[in-house]
């Protein structure tokens, strides 16, 4: 039997829900009304909405409901995208449903009922300290010819995805920074997974182990500013790490914020026109979680000849790529269904490409595009920036 030890800590928020259902659909004057919860959009049953999940949490707390294998799956069928929180009007609280779901996941994990698919990932991370279970030294290959220092006041944090899966993004970041006369430090194999995925999965202890290691190493490197190109890492470093460690002795910046600032100060400039119609997908961790909406848009709008178009759901209303909350790992079919809706939305803007600022979003979108046979291209922001600056990455 799973106890509700962590969920109980969220009792106040759970009982603040008035069940109004405004977390189901977004209403914006003179535009479409549209679903808020992507999982609800796919499955249709109310248990997948914010208020449905709160009803379930209340029933668990009141002992009317107990965890079953199907309920455990249900708890993991949440993207933690935060759109329901964004639209919650209950007493003006913006009830933090992602945190409530994470508390439920911690309860599940603490009592030994984690999903098998996620157990595998966690066990890989324990061994290799990255989500791909690659040898850590393999992950440093992307910088083999770059001669990056291990210590320095500005540190580049690649994250697992841009280390193993999308090295071009990491190389683009380094090229951009060097163009601005910044030679960033890089921790190489000492950079472990940021702890974000484990926090999402409910593996609090593992997440904290990774965070503690990383903070010690970063501190030892004399870093003042960490720049990352991964939205998930950015949220983890900026908001999760202080919860474990306390105030951090360094600043955390997303590459989009850093580049937007360099552009404003005239430290870099775009040389090559990019004559394409491009839309931007807000990663949940960068947008709703951390409020970074303007810098990526400012950058794209500054690229010569680039035609920037917004999707219907943008900024705080953005539709999740489908990969959040461990869904891409645990329920890839569900993840693809949700990504498909986002791709359809991008297609309706007549854009040629989607730019995002998170390798995880990029991965989910690319995989789904391949699956459905669409010709939409997907770029990670640093790659496009490097191209517009005519940099070799």
């Amino acid at each position: 039997m799973i106890k509700n030890k962590n969920l109980k800590k969220w009792k106040n928020e759970v009982y603040s829900c008035v069940n109004c259902g405004l977390c189901r659909e977004q209403i914006d004057y003179k535009s479409e009304t549209y679903g808020i919860c992507p999982v609800w959009e796919v499955y249709g049953f109310d248990s997948y909405t914010g208020r449905g999940r709160i009803n379930i949490a209340q029933s668990l707390l009141e002992g009317r409901l107990e965890y079953t294998p199907r309920l455990i799956e249900h708890v993991y069928k949440c993207l933690l995208c935060g759109d329901c929180k964004e639209h919650c009007f209950s007493r003006g609280l913006h009830i933090d449903l992602p945190e409530i779901v994470k508390a439920m996941r911690r309860d599940i994990v603490d009592d030994g009922f984690e999903l098998d698919s996620l157990k595998k990932v966690d066990s890989k991370i324990r061994k290799t300290h990255n989500v791909f279970a690659e040898s850590s030294s393999e992950g440093t290959k992307w910088d083999v010819d770059l001669d990056l220092p291990k210590k320095g006041s500005i540190l580049y944090w690649s994250g697992c995805y841009n280390k193993f899966k999308y090295p071009k993004t990491s190389r683009s970041v380094v090229a951009i920074l060097r163009e601005a006369n910044i030679n960033p430090a890089y921790l190489g194999e000492e950079e472990w997974c940021c702890g974000g995925p484990q926090d999402t999965n409910g593996q609090k202890i593992l997440s904290e182990e990774l965070i503690k290691h990383n903070v010690e190493i970063v501190k030892a490197s004399g870093t003042k500013i960490i720049i990352t190109s991964c939205a998930g890492c950015y949220h983890s470093l900026k908001s999760n790490w202080p919860k474990v460690i306390g105030e951090l002795p360094f600043k955390v910046v997303h590459i989009s914020e850093f580049v937007a600032d360099l552009l404003t100060r005239g430290k870099i400039r775009f040389k090559k026109p990019i004559d394409r119609k491009i839309t931007y997908h807000d990663p949940c961790h960068l947008g709703r979680y951390e409020g970074v909406y303007h810098p990526p848009r400012d950058i794209l709008k500054a690229i010569p000849k680039l035609q920037f178009v917004e999707m219907l759901r943008n900024r705080e209303n953005a539709w999740c790529c489908g990969g959040g909350g461990a869904t891409a790992v645990a329920f890839p079919e569900l993840s693809s269904e949700i990504a498909k809706i986002r791709i359809d939305e991008a297609n309706s803007t007549k854009a040629n490409a989607i730019v995002t600022a998170c390798p995880f979003c990029k991965n989910v979108l690319i995989n789904t595009i391949r699956k459905i046979g669409n010709d939409m291209e997907v770029y990670d922001l640093p790659v496009l920036i490097a191209e517009a600056m005519e940099l070799e990455a």
């Binding site: 069940n19 003179k30 009304t33 049953f45």
Partner: protein
């Protein structure tokens, strides 16, 4: 064959769930103080043919049915141990008929979607329900909801022209002019009795509404906001009455919305209520620019006779963006409303009686607080939808019990003062229905005739023979 298997054959396995957690998610409405009412299974039909089959199955197995819309009702409007039919998949816009000035949509569409689909074509349903993004057309008609623009458009029932309904025996009927298959949907009152009216406010006990035809209006060019404060509630009520007198449905003062309140908390959301005297806000004029400008001056003349403009609030807010959110936010606060109609000039007296009862009950001792006001919003003729909302701390079981006790007292008081509740539900019916004499007996007779197996939302509106069943248990 098991119930689940039978239902899966009708609507497909993806559209049926009897998971415990799903049942919990379908056991509550906005009316939170009630004990959750668990259905036994949930189905999500896509068309009326599937619903007909479910109704036949329910008759064969004698298992009750409860159609559910957005579950945003405030009156606890369904019974437990039933097959819950989630209507929200049936949400297609069927026809916008500019010739007959009507829109027809499936009953599972929510008001927000209709509102914005029409706005794109330059039309509006006019009536704007408070829970715009959740309440479905069918659900809100079955409960005869009021709305933010009731000052002009009345209660929702007044906007309904025709309905398509599946009766408890599975027959499909069309009401209004559409009863004749050769006729368009343009007139409600024809071929004898107003059968559309039978289903408005019926709590779903006479059938499942599957299609709805409503009136439409040209989208107003502009909206202007006003707010006035008065020395006394009586002065505010007199002013609202003066405006209402001139508010003819066509060509009169285009007042969409008019809230009359004893306190000023509706101006300062989420702050403790202050029992100041009368305030009218927001008062919204909508229509053509020249019309709004002209009537704005008339309105000012009427309001300034006894009141003064409210200052220090931003009247220039983008009403179309902010107003739905404001209303949504406001109503999210309100967990148990007392809500019923009363002639506007009686609102001050009634408001004070309710406030007195609230104080005598020592509600705050039980962590029960008033939300909104002891006031209301003007309805289109000469009445006001009076509300006395309550919010309570759900963490305390005693608060839940006491809230229900106070709600019952409110309804006893309301009925004794002559208020007319337009939606009923389990939360209210035990107080209201027995007071209706032969009218209630007629409802009971109609129910028995239409639904001999008592499968359609049993226990609602028509009380069970043994009264206890309709109480929370």
């Amino acid at each position: 064959m098991e119930l689940k298997e039978s239902l899966e054959k009708i609507v497909g396995f993806k559209n049926v769930s009897d998971d415990d957690f799903e049942i919990e998610a379908y056991s509550r409405s906005w009316s939170c103080p009630t004990i959750p009412r668990r259905p036994i299974i949930i189905v999500r039909p896509n068309n009326k043919e599937q619903i007909i089959e479910v109704v036949h199955l329910a008759n064969r197995t004698k298992i009750p049915i409860v159609p559910l819309g957005g579950k945003s009702n405030c009156c606890d409007a369904w019974s437990k141990n039933a097959i819950a039919i989630d209507m929200t998949s049936m949400n297609k816009l069927i026809e916008v008929n500019e010739e007959s000035l009507t829109v027809t949509a499936e009953a599972g569409m929510h008001h927000g979607e209709l509102f914005y689909k029409l706005a794109k074509r330059g039309w509006t349903p006019g009536f704007r329900i408070h829970s715009l993004g959740t309440a479905t057309l069918g659900g809100s008609i079955a409960l005869c909801a009021n709305g933010a623009t009731s000052a002009k458009y009345g209660l929702l029932g007044e906007q309904v022209i025709c309905l398509q309904v599946i009766l408890p025996n599975g027959d499909v009927i069309n009401t209004g002019s559409s009863a004749n298959p050769q006729a368009k949907k343009f007139q409600r009152y024809c071929y004898g009795s107003d059968l559309t009216g039978l289903f408005i406010g019926s709590n779903g006990i006479f059938g499942i509404i599957t299609e709805v035809t409503l009136k439409i209006y040209p989208l107003p060019e502009t909206f202007n906001y006003y707010g006035y404060q008065f020395e006394t509630m009586e002065a505010a009520a007199r002013t609202v009455y003066e405006i209402q007198k001139r508010s003819f449905p066509h060509g009169g003062l285009p007042v969409e919305s008019m809230y009359l309140t004893l306190g000023k908390e509706s101006l300062e959301m989420r702050k403790p209520p202050i029992y100041a005297e009368g305030i009218i806000f927001p008062l919204v004029l909508a229509g053509r620019r020249d019309e709004v400008e002209f009537y704005g001056k008339k309105l000012e003349e009427i309001c300034l006779k006894e009141g003064k403009p409210i200052k220090n609030i931003d009247l220039s807010i983008d009403t179309q963006k902010a107003f739905p959110k404001r209303i949504a936010g406001n109503y999210a606060l309100m967990r148990v409303p007392f809500c019923a109609n009363i002639p506007t000039l009686q609102v001050p007296k009634v408001g004070r009686e309710f406030f007195r009862m609230y104080k005598e009950f020592e509600a705050e001792k039980y962590k029960i607080y008033p939300n909104l006001s002891f006031g209301g919003h003007a309805c289109n003729q000469c009445d006001t939808v009076f509300s006395a909302g309550l919010s309570f701390d759900y963490r305390y079981p005693e608060a839940r019990e006491k809230t229900r006790e106070l709600v019952e007292k409110y309804f006893e008081l309301g009925m004794s003062l002559g208020l007319a509740p337009h939606y009923i539900g389990l939360l209210r019916q035990n107080v209201i229905m027995p007071k209706l004499g032969h009218t209630y007996e007629l409802l009971r007779t109609i129910k028995k005739t239409l639904d001999p197996n008592n499968i359609m939302v049993p226990g609602l509106l028509v009380l069970p023979e043994s009264r206890g069943e309709s109480k929370d248990d």
